[in-house]
């Protein structure tokens, strides 16, 4: 039996009737057509589906849409105007932090949260911070450099 849910997605109120078994990632992708949220494993390991739930990163593939009732969800699409995310994206471009791009949305959202909690992480803290986001292309080196670059750029922007 379908259940009604009401939540905020990227700042907009969304009401829907969903099967309890539908996970949030499929709700975003198939119902709202927000396809930046990728599915790489559907058991909560790879991190490609990471979104912000009430401001904190969560795996959209192991969060049921009915359990996100009332929540404030933000996907990469909803961060298009976020000035901090703009800096992070530019850093990933400058430091070659992506290849095929599939892990990238989850990696960007994890980075946004990591740098909010730890504005000046060292390389080991960055690696630990993104250890829940798998990338098969880059070997992570470009990603670590991108995050270091972003941290410095954000610090500079805040001082200015």
């Amino acid at each position: 039996m379908k259940l009604p849910i009401s939540l905020t997605v990227n700042g907009e109120r969304v009401e829907a009737l969903v099967e309890p078994r539908l996970h949030l990632a499929d709700f975003l992708r198939e119902h709202l057509r927000l396809t930046a949220t990728h599915l790489g494993c559907e058991h909560g390991v790879c991190g490609a589906c990471t979104v912000l739930v009430d401001g904190a990163p969560a795996r959209a593939c192991i969060l049921l849409a009915v359990a996100a009732d009332g929540a404030d969800i933000r996907t990469l699409e909803g961060l298009a105007d976020d000035p901090r995310m703009a800096v992070i994206k530019e850093s990933f471009h400058q430091k070659h932090g992506l290849q095929c791009g599939f892990c990238t949305p989850g990696m960007l959202i994890t980075t946004l949260d990591l740098l909010a909690r730890k504005p000046a992480p060292d390389a080991a803290e960055i690696r630990a911070g993104i250890s829940g986001n798998l990338c098969r292309c880059t070997g992570y080196q470009g990603i670590v450099r991108s995050i270091q670059h972003a941290a410095a750029a954000l610090e500079q922007a805040e001082e200015a």
Binding site: E42, K89, C100, F102, R136, Q141
Partner: protein
Amino acid sequence: MNAAAAADPNTGQGVGAPVLRNEDRRFLDGKGEYLADIQLPGLLEVAFLRSPLAHARIRGIAIPEAHRGRVFLASDIAFAQPISAVGAAPGFKASDYPALAVEKVRFVGEMIAICLAPTRAEAEDIAQSIQVDFEELPPLWDMDVALAPDAPRVHEHWADNVVVETRIAVGDLAAAERDAAITVHRTLAMGRHAGVSLEGRGVIAHHDRRMDELVVYSSTQFPHVIRTILARALGLAESKLRVVAPDVGGGFGIKNNFNPEELAVAALALKLGKPLRWVEDRREHLVASPHAREHRYDLTAYADARGRLLGLKARVRVDAGAYSVWPWTAAMEAGMSAGIMTGPYDIPVYDGTAVTVCTNKSPLGPYRGVGRTGAAFAIETLIDAVARAAGREPADVRIENMVAPDAMPYRSVTGKLYDSGDYPECARRAVAAIDLAAVRARQGRGEPDGRLIGFGMASYTEQSAHGTAEWVARGLPVVFGYEPALARFTPDGKLILHVGIQNHGQGLETTLAQVAHQELGIPVADVVVRHGDSSLSPYGMGTFASRSMTMAGGAVSLACARMAEKIRRIGAHLLQAPREAVRLAGGQVWFGEQFVSFAQIADAAYLHPERLPEGEDPALEESAVYQPGRSTGAFSYATHACTLAVDPGTGLIEILDYVVCHDCGTMVNPLLVEAQVVGGVAQGLGTALFEEIPYDENGQPLASTFLDYMIPGACEVPDVRVLHMETPSPHTRFGIKGMGEGGAISPPAAVVNALNDALRRRGVELACTPVTPLRVREALAAAPRAKTEVVA
């Protein structure tokens, strides 16, 4: 050079420049379009019913009445021809790989039925409701079980489970054996694993009413080739089939096969006239996508007292799984491993046998490094063993055995023609960068935390961009000899390159633009690269075998060079200058201080032919097809050197330092080259340390989710230091050599060598991958304690 040209902001974008990628923007905005992102009206989702058993006869399939019309079996798509990849080697045993199992299932994960529903969840409900009556057969769950004389056969009409056995024997092995002061024998094993692109495979098929064609989207590395084989398998005219590879979330070889899923979905969409979509999930990927590696080696090296190799005897056995993948055939892994075994070493005598074994497992297919990762693991661990027997530093023994630079071009004992390079210098640079003397001193001091330090290195040669001669020699159904490019200006002066390769992370939308810049002086940002669609680009072979930069780069260069000539002619005419006196820069044609823009030239070429020189054809479009000067391949090479620490209490390994010195000829974009090397190393470390799908005695795969199959995360991959050498290939445009796979070739050998170096004093030597903490602990626990103390 005039002031305007010197100030051109677009210089520094050509071959050799570290240009940032054109394709980044859409991915950073989450606007990449991968297969699962594509929606079509009326789309039905596919879930496959897959075999839960390794080996069984199908006695019957019961479909609940409620689901009739939504479940389709082999008989429903009987018009689809099975996949057949037959090698040319004498004695190769052919088998048919049907889209859906017909009478028998031969591995866990083999497809039995297609289930359709509006959502994937409902399609899975249907699959779960189907009852299959199986008659279980004894599973051939290991290659040695399959090789037993009385073993049941995977394919009944075969005499045994050997797909094919081939042998290369050159020189007098008996003499080498007789003359050897050192004889070293080793047996090695590499685990079976999966390719694990972060995006799984996937297929969408629908009928385009207006074009009256079947459109198949596939997350594939070679859409044009898929169109050819799919048309044949479906009995369609190729002109009535369009294959599109959208953004592809990693390939690494596993998306470089003609898969039964592609055949099944396309066939059923054709039959039903409805749009269908299958998106591979992670469990399907791990269980049923083409697998990687699983080699076993019996090796004997004969050497003189200093460790100079006199001869090598090798027997390679590869577990190829149940079927032969198209177009590579089941024999590819074993054949390539035995064929490149001597690597960068000058070994005069070789007797190599390659045995491909058929078992009840998912078929083995190409994966980054194909064959060579195993070959390097074999020869490189063997050389360390020889060095230990000679009582010498492995680095020294290794370098002494290498092909000398003055021997280039060099024909190896297995008949490979190495085109250029300085292998010993490459190895010396890697060893110097890691500071071997300091590592040895550190080992002597011991670690305060009780960990053991080890040094290991491994070298390889990577045949890349091989063309007609090589593929004909391998006897494949398709000869991947060339690449095309169509360069087409738009009337507003921007350039679109249509190419037959497929970009899935390599940065080809940028590097091919750099080649265009090199020939035309057009800003990279003004170049669009179109690929991955059989209706948009000329017929090409796709992206695999470290070939796209060399092959498509050569084609773009040829087409753009012709285009440059035409632009010069038109530009000179418009500037009223002699043709020899004009040059191209910054998207303009210059004569002294005067210029015309490409936009003005394109405008003339397309919209104002009256402005063109007399006899000049309108339009700005050139196409070219490129083949390298020699089609035997351009050989990249590298030495990897690493230091690691192993914890004898837990078996955990930490890579402390990792250096790659490599030579891929001329680098088009060193930024992207370095990233490809590092990414390859990360995958190689996965092979070395983590990744494995063991099978139990029932033929059940024991790693089917990311909960039990581990790939390296950010904490498990070290910062890799990459040193570049650039020896241009004499055979290719710009001297480019391919390099996409190389990073993944050496890590298993380098890591296992380093581990054994660290554990030497404990009297322990490991000879397998992955070297998991458990395997290290088992070896340590089994080592006689007394020996531990005695061996210094």
